[in-house]
Symmetry: C2
Subunit: 476 residues, 2 copies
């Protein structure tokens, strides 16, 4: 394919994407295919000579589309949203077109510098304390990670490196293994699976502490755990607090937890993967009360801020705490301007290579503008409130936990089995897509406003489907 | 931006990219900017209301381009290549347009199934043993990781989980820390920085074993190290062998190392990040001799196979060894078809979320066809041979190591300082871009055929620049 072919086939691809997104509401959100469906539709081997664009394009409808779960259907209410938008796609196209790898400043200066700029923009939108900004007075700064899982892992690894250094300074004869056996980290019993994964990877004991009736980890609980663990000779060093848990969008109490972490020299990492986006609206910034106590903070613009995956924004108060934990610096990656003014992001992340991801964030912030992004958040929260009212109006149902953002957790009153049956019916029916969760033995269904195109009529539709399927279980 | 805006601005973006790639040879590969250049060119805050496409587009030339290192300039000969191509960009556009997240089969079945298919296609092109294929007789399969760094880390973590399980089975009273202090892994003294990073992350002792005069780790060296370590009470459990090192494209001797690993129950991971792509050509498949002994194997189609970053292909002989090391399985990620036939790739990688990356690989394999991709590899190897001849024709220079693929390591005869001076001159001159490396005290410059558009005249041009700058150091 030459440049002319790219221009012409590219136009067809633009049309294909625009048409797809304009008509995605007509598609069944969850496909009907069974595992292994694709094997019979494609050859066993790559072709020896190139195929025509026309043949490839035909296969988009024949091969690809039948197996897509349509995350951008307004009838998709599962997991949490993944963002997309036309400006983000254009930004990603440019990233691919330039095709640079930004592991150091010199490997493509703008790739680093634009990230520095837009991470400061974003920090200001969330009103993060000044010390998290590159342009702030301290030694802070932000970085785009691929996912919140990676941000949590980077935070935990950096905290582990810091405590190792302290312990080895105090007793140079101790081994990593001896120190490791004493380390203990904390999170809540409603944390995301990736926090447990990070503990598996780092070999750190991760205690999942009990939360209150709203799913919030509270100060006294942490204090008690620290006291117990210190009495056992363990070394508490890390807390992963969550602002907007996956199961039920619960919020750990940072204002209580933060001072306890500070006075015990515990690294507080805050995972606000989903809820963080809402904090561009002043009325939701109270969710970040206590953020000044955290060492690292993370949220995913790729969830709810119109930036396509992957774009997970992470800030650190003292960048040396992160970069120092990972620094390996062979000659072939060094450059003259190293360590001056601008970060070398390869020391901030797990992979070496990195794409020009700040472009899509920059495109989105500039082309939408802050007001339109706030508007999107508010619309989605209002739709969730609308769904909550509908559920509350039907006495067969109950709401689990309070509704703060775009997630509504609901169930049929009574035993779990009846809600499990309802979820199975919804899943088999296929008109809408929702996933269940379970907290402290209570099974419920999660309803999330996901696609940016979702409107009131889509919420009404979902509720009518749920009511219809419920009627076959329990007469109304 | 609505669909009509996307169609029209998207066309301008296609033109911008096509024009950029058609004229990239006219740009200076390494930009002149200094750290911090961007701050004065952009505002301090994101705009409140959306800006026009025209304003954004103007900034591509004003703000972005001056800070780009042009990896696709035919005068860029640094690091190793990063691939790009028009078909890959189109595939990525579609991935962004669909915007699904493929962490489980159900979260978008085609995202998993197409990856299964194309990873088998790719395995067949490299003639990997049948047991690495999903369609093979064993329990093997492939996965697209983001980078080779992540593949190495996933392999090392999985190997660590395996040895932990064995040790804990033998002595349930032992702690992770106690076992960890006894573990030892191996790699060569010319390994990539990411192998050392993986050791930092996993807390595993990584011994860098000496290589022969061609930079190859040999069997007897490994055997000796294992014997020594076992005598010291250590537990050897992992080897990362490299096929095509970063410094000098050296090849560890898998045929010698493999049987030693097998007989000592050592997990052999093979990192062929750069060189692996060449193995789609039958004449280079000898480079993989001994691959049947490895447990995991990885190479980067995003380096030399026209697939844009990120696309790092990893295979495993027994997928349970990998998925078992990472499995955490909350209800909200489970689905009815779990664990049957198709993998849930979230258990194969560090992050939870994943893009539809197989699309770009599928587009590239289909639209180029195998023959054209082989042709590209052969052209680049021929160009490297051409450069080698030019260097050899000038008695002031010497070649370091034999030239096998697209990398030529060369230096001026004599002290390192003279080659260091030459590299500084090349860097300051800016017409071509190369980076240095150092092995066992010998400093040299790496010349790599990087951009796919590179032709004989570009190699001649580079050599003329190098000769001209050398003349100012040493009269010819």
């Amino acid at each position: 394919m030459d440049a002319a072919g790219f221009r012409s086939h590219g136009r067809e691809m633009l049309d294909y994407i625009a048409h797809y997104l304009e008509t995605v509401h007509l598609r069944q959100p969850l496909p009907d295919v069974h595992p292994g469906y694709l094997k019979d539709l494609v050859p066993d081997e790559a072709p020896l000579t190139g195929e025509s664009w026309e043949d490839l394009k035909k296969d988009l409808d024949r091969v690809v589309m039948p197996g897509v779960t349509h995350w951008h259907s307004p009838h998709f209410h599962a997991y949490y949203p993944t963002a997309n938008s036309y400006p983000a796609i254009l930004g990603d196209m440019l990233s691919d077109g330039i095709g640079c790898i930004g592991f150091s400043w010199a490997s493509s200066p703008v790739c680093t510098e634009l990230e520095v700029i837009v991470m400061d923009w974003l920090a200001k939108l969330l009103r993060l304390p000044n010390e998290f900004l590159f342009s702030g007075e301290g030694n802070g700064g932000g970085v785009i990670q691929g996912t919140a899982s990676e941000a949590t892992l980077v935070a935990l690894l950096s905290a582990r490196a810091k405590i190792f250094a302290q312990m080895l300074f105090a007793d140079p004869s101790s081994t990593h293994g001896q120190i490791l056996d004493k380390l203990v980290a904390y999170t809540s019993d409603e944390c995301h699976s990736s926090v447990e994964r990070a503990a598996l990877i780092t070999l750190v004991k991760m205690r999942k502490l009990p939360t209150d009736e709203q799913g919030s980890l509270r100060g006294p609980t942490l204090e008690k755990a620290i006291r117990e663990d210190k009495e056992r000779g363990l070394i508490p060093f890390f807390l992963c607090a969550t602002i907007g848990t996956t199961s039920a969008c619960a919020f750990d109490n940072m204002s209580e937890l933060g001072p306890i972490c500070s006075s015990n020299d515990i690294w507080m990492h805050v995972d606000a993967a989903y809820a963080g986006s809402a904090c561009i609206c002043p009325e939701f910034q109270y969710l970040l009360d206590g953020i000044e106590h955290c060492t690292t903070f993370n949220f995913n613009p790729h969830k709810w801020l119109r930036v396509n995956f992957d774009c997970s924004a992470m800030w650190v108060k003292d960048r040396n705490l992160i970069s120092g934990a990972f620094e390996i610096d062979p000659l072939y990656l060094q450059h003259d301007n190293q360590g001056q003014i601008m970060p070398d992001y390869r020391h901030w992340q797990i992979p070496l290579g990195r794409r020009f991801r700040s472009l899509k964030l920059w495109f989105v912030l500039r082309m939408f503008g802050v007001a339109a992004l706030q508007q999107q958040i508010r619309k989605d929260v209002d739709l969730a409130k609308m769904f909550e009212s509908l559920v509350r109006s039907d006495s067969r149902f109950e709401i689990v936990r309070s509704v703060t953002l775009g997630l509504v957790c609901f169930r049929l009153k009574g035993d779990n089995s009846i809600t499990e049956s309802l979820h199975k019916k919804i899943n088999d029916d296929r008109r809408i897509h929702l996933v269940p969760s379970i907290i402290k033995g209570t099974y419920f269904i999660r309803f999330v406003i996901c696609a940016s195109a979702t409107q009131q009529e889509d919420v009404s539709f979902a509720w009518s489907v749920i009511q219809e399927l419920t009627n076959s279980l329990i007469p109304s």
